[in-house]
Symmetry: C2
Subunit: 87 residues, 2 copies
């Protein structure tokens, strides 16, 4: 792995890990009003397509990173609907 | 451009465009309590590193997409501090 790919790996790690504190906070606080539903849905579909791209490119790191992000956004969308209705 | 790169382009478009409605909503509503600050900061740093990666890889589409996302997250972090303090 050359240094450019190490930089890419660090970027992928950060942009994947970033949503874990968001999922935790939303789960704990049920505070979803500030989360934009169009953002959640567009990003979820986008990351699903990145996942397909990762499979087509045979890239284990893209498949791994995007799988985690797909799950994070699936949970955020679930929380958004669940906690918006219960108000 | 082969079909795999067209799929990647669609994914990049969606994951970049996704944050525009978030920026708009946060700007309009000042509702930042549901946005996780660690998420904003980790993702911002991650996308900055993706931008560096895009330059090192000479990838105009990565440079373009990540520049827009860096600006989106810069604005969201600014809103987060501004509207948290004013409460």
């Amino acid at each position: 792995m050359n240094y450019i790919e190490i930089i890419g790996f660090i970027a992928a790690f950060l942009t994947t890990a970033a949503f874990l504190p968001q999922v935790y906070q939303t789960w704990k606080t049920k505070d979803v009003s500030g989360l934009s539903l169009p953002m959640l849905i567009l990003f979820f579909i986008g990351v699903l397509i990145w996942l397909v791209y990762g499979f087509l490119k045979d890239s284990p790191s893209m498949i791994f990173a995007n799988s985690i992000t797909v799950i994070s956004f699936f949970l955020l969308i679930y929380f958004k609907f669940k906690y918006t209705k219960s108000k």
